[in-house]
C-alpha cells in the first residue's frame, strides 16, 4: 500500500500537532511548515498528496500560497484543504480550494476526514 504524504502549513504549533496526529491516524505521513515564506520556498521541491493550508500565516499569506500551488503543474494532483476561522474569507477562497474547513477544527473531525481522503486516494491509484 502506497504511503500517502501530507504537508501541514500552520503557524500555531499546537494546532499543527493536532492536525498532524489526526492525519497520521488516517494513514498519512506528515510534515509541518510553520512559516508562509518557508512554505513558498519549498513548493517547487515537494509533491504531497494533501496540503492542509492555514490562511493566516506569518511573512507570506495563505491565499498567496494557494494561488501559487494552483499555478504549479507538479502540484496539480495535490488536494488542498484550506483552514480558516473567518467565514467570509472561507467563502472567498472556496473556488480555489478542494475543501474549506472552518476553524475550530476538532481532532476527531479531521481524523474522520483524513481516513476518508486516504481511502479515496488509494482507490484512485
Amino acid at each position: 500500500m502506497k504511503q500517502l504524504h501530507a504537508i501541514i502549513i500552520e503557524d500555531e504549533v499546537d494546532l499543527a500537532t493536532i492536525f498532524s496526529e489526526a492525519l497520521k491516524a488516517g494513514g498519512f505521513t506528515t510534515e509541518v511548515i510553520n512559516d508562509g515564506a518557508e512554505a513558498m520556498a519549498r513548493l517547487d521541491s515537494i509533491s504531497p498528496d494533501i496540503i492542509i493550508l492555514d490562511l493566516h500565516l506569518p511573512n507570506v499569506g495563505g491565499r498567496e500560497i494557494l494561488t501559487r500551488i494552483r499555478a504549479t503543474p507538479e502540484l496539480a494532483k495535490t488536494q488542498v484543504l484550506v483552514t480558516t476561522a473567518d467565514s467570509h474569507l472561507a467563502e472567498m477562497v472556496e473556488p480555489q480550494a478542494d475543501l474549506v474547513l472552518l476553524k475550530p477544527i476538532g481532532f476527531l473531525q479531521l481524523q474522520t476526514l483524513a481516513k476518508r481522503l486516504g481511502s479515496q486516494a488509494r482507490e484512485e491509484e
Partner: protein, 448 residues
C-alpha cells in the same frame, strides 16, 4: 386697515421716537380729514351760492392738505422731531389766522392754544409743552402789543403754563411707565435667551454623551470579538489534545484518567460554546452575521438535534421526544446551521429548567407563509412578568438560578436575534410549575 397701519408705521431704533412719530401720523391723518371736510363744505357752499367769499377757504384747505402731506413725508423720510416741530408751527399758524386778533387774545379762540401745548408734550417731548406755552404766550403778547395796542393778559399766559405743567406731568409719567415696561421686557427676553442657551448646552452634552456611549459600545463589541477569537485558538488546542488522549494516541489511559480527561473535554466544550455564543452575540449586534441559506430536510434537522441532545436528556433523567408534522414540506430553505443552533438552544433551555418529565421537539406548518419549530417542556415555568426579559442577554429569571443551572443566559437572546434575522419571530407560552412552550416561527422564504 392693514395698509393704513403700515402707512402710519415709523421705523426708528428709539422706541420713544417711534411712538411720537406714530402719534404724529395719527394727528396728521385727523388734520387731513379735517382739511378734506372743510374743502367739501366749501364746495357745497360754493355750489349752493350760500357763501360768496370762498376763495380764502379753498386756499386754506389746500394749504392745510399740502402741508399735512409735506409733514407726513418729513416724518416718514427724515425725522419725527423735525416733523413734529413743523406740525406744531403749522397748527399755531392756522390758529392765529383762523380768527380775529381780539378773539384770539381774549375770546372764543384763546383756549384753542392749549391744544398745541398738550400735543407738544406727546409728539415732541414732555418738556416741550413749556416751550409751546412760551411760544403761545409770546404770540398773544405780540398780538396784544403790536396789533391791539393793549397790555398783555398775564392770567391767560399763566393758564397756558398751568396746562403745560399738567401735560408735562401726564406725558412724563406715561414715558416712565413705558420705560419700565421696556426694561421688564428686555429682562424677560434675556432670561428666555439664557434658558434657550442652557437647553442647547444640555442638548449638546447629551449628544456628546450619546456619541461616547456608541463608541464605547463599538469598542465593547470589538473587544469581545477579539478576546473571543483569542480564546478560541487555545481552546481548540485543549479540545484537540484531550480528544487525542481519549483515543489513546499517547497510550492507553487508566479508567480514572479516562474519566478525568472526559471531564476536561466536557468542560472545554462548554467553554467553547460560551465563547462561540459571545462571538455570535457581538457579530449579530454589529450586523456582521450573515446567513447562509441552502435547501435542507426538516426531518434530518430535527433528527440531528434529537440525537445530539439525547445524552444530556438522559443524564438529567428526562425523556426527549421529537416529531415532524407530515404536512410539512420535505425540503425547506434556510440556514441549516443556524436553525440547528436555535433548536439546540431551545432544547438546552428546556432541559435546563425541567427537573422531571419530558421535553418535546416538534416541527410543523404554522400558516401559509411560515413553518415553526416548537419546544415544549414540563419544567418550572416562567412568570408572565419575566416572559419578555428572558430574551435579554445574560438574563435568567432568578440570578441565583445561574449557578445551579449552568450557562450565562446567552442562548435565548441569540436564538431570538437569529430568528429575527431570518425574518421570523419567537413566542413563549408558560405556566408556573406546568411547563413552557417556545415556538420559533420562520418564513418559508429567506429574507433578502
Amino acid at each position: 386697515m392693514k395698509n393704513l397701519k403700515s402707512l402710519l408705521e415709523i421705523h426708528s431704533d428709539d422706541p420713544d421716537n417711534k411712538r411720537r412719530g406714530q402719534l404724529l401720523n395719527i394727528l396728521l391723518l385727523g388734520l387731513a380729514a379735517l382739511s378734506l371736510l372743510v374743502l367739501l363744505v366749501t364746495i357745497i357752499a360754493d355750489l349752493s351760492t350760500l357763501e360768496t367769499n370762498v376763495g380764502p377757504l379753498y386756499m386754506g384747505s389746500f394749504i392745510m392738505l399740502g402741508s399735512t402731506i409735506l409733514i407726513f413725508a418729513v416724518n416718514h423720510y427724515r425725522s419725527a422731531q423735525t416733523a413734529s416741530i413743523l406740525f406744531l408751527a403749522l397748527f399755531t399758524i392756522i390758529l392765529v389766522l383762523s380768527d380775529e386778533p381780539a378773539q384770539i387774545v381774549n375770546g372764543r379762540s384763546t383756549f384753542l392754544f392749549t391744544v398745541p401745548i398738550i400735543m407738544a408734550s406727546f409728539i415732541l417731548s414732555p418738556w416741550a409743552s413749556f416751550l409751546m406755552a412760551g411760544v403761545s404766550s409770546l404770540l398773544i403778547a405780540s398780538l396784544d402789543i403790536f396789533v391791539l395796542d393793549s397790555t398783555p393778559g398775564v392770567p391767560t399766559m399763566l393758564g397756558f403754563f398751568a396746562v403745560a405743567l399738567v401735560s408735562w406731568l401726564a406725558s412724563r409719567s406715561l414715558e416712565a411707565t413705558l420705560q419700565e415696561l421696556r426694561v421688564l421686557n428686555r429682562d424677560l427676553e434675556l432670561r428666555v435667551e439664557e434658558r434657550t442657551r442652557e437647553l442647547e448646552e444640555a442638548n449638546q452634552q447629551l449628544e456628546e454623551a450619546n456619541a461616547h456611549l456608541r463608541e464605547l459600545d463599538r469598542l465593547k463589541s470589538l473587544f469581545v470579538a477579539m478576546v473571543s477569537h483569542e480564546l478560541r485558538t487555545p481552546l481548540t488546542s485543549i479540545q484537540g489534545f484531550t480528544q487525542m488522549l481519549l483515543v489513546s494516541i499517547y497510550g492507553a489511559l487508566t479508567n480514572e484518567q479516562q474519566s478525568a480527561v472526559e471531564r476536561v473535554l466536557a468542560n472545554t466544550k462548554r467553554l467553547i460554546k460560551i465563547v462561540n455564543d459571545l462571538l455570535d452575540k457581538t457579530r449579530i449586534e454589529a450586523g456582521q452575521l450573515a446567513l447562509h441559506p441552502t435547501s435542507f430536510s426538516p426531518v434530518e434537522l430535527i433528527d440531528d438535534v434529537h440525537t445530539s441532545m439525547k445524552m444530556l436528556a438522559k443524564q438529567r433523567g428526562l425523556e426527549l421526544t421529537s416529531e415532524v408534522a407530515p404536512e410539512l414540506a420535505a425540503t425547506l430553505y434556510g440556514d441549516q446551521g443556524r436553525l440547528h443552533q436555535i433548536l439546540v438552544n431551545l432544547v438546552n433551555n428546556g432541559l435546563k429548567f425541567t427537573d422531571k418529565g419530558q421535553v418535546n421537539i416538534r416541527a410543523y406548518r404554522f400558516d401559509g407563509a411560515h413553518w415553526a419549530m416548537e419546544v415544549r417542556d414540563t419544567g418550572i415555568g416562567i412568570p408572565v412578568k419575566s416572559q419578555e426579559s428572558i430574551f435579554e442577554a445574560f438574563r435568567q429569571v432568578d440570578a441565583s438560578v445561574t449557578r445551579r443551572r449552568k450557562g450565562v443566559g446567552l442562548g435565548l437572546s441569540i436564538s431570538r436575534q437569529l430568528i429575527e434575522l431570518m425574518g421570523g419571530r419567537i413566542i413563549v407560552a408558560s405556566e408556573i410549575n406546568e411547563g413552557s412552550k417556545f415556538t420559533a416561527i420562520i418564513p418559508f422564504t429567506a429574507p433578502h
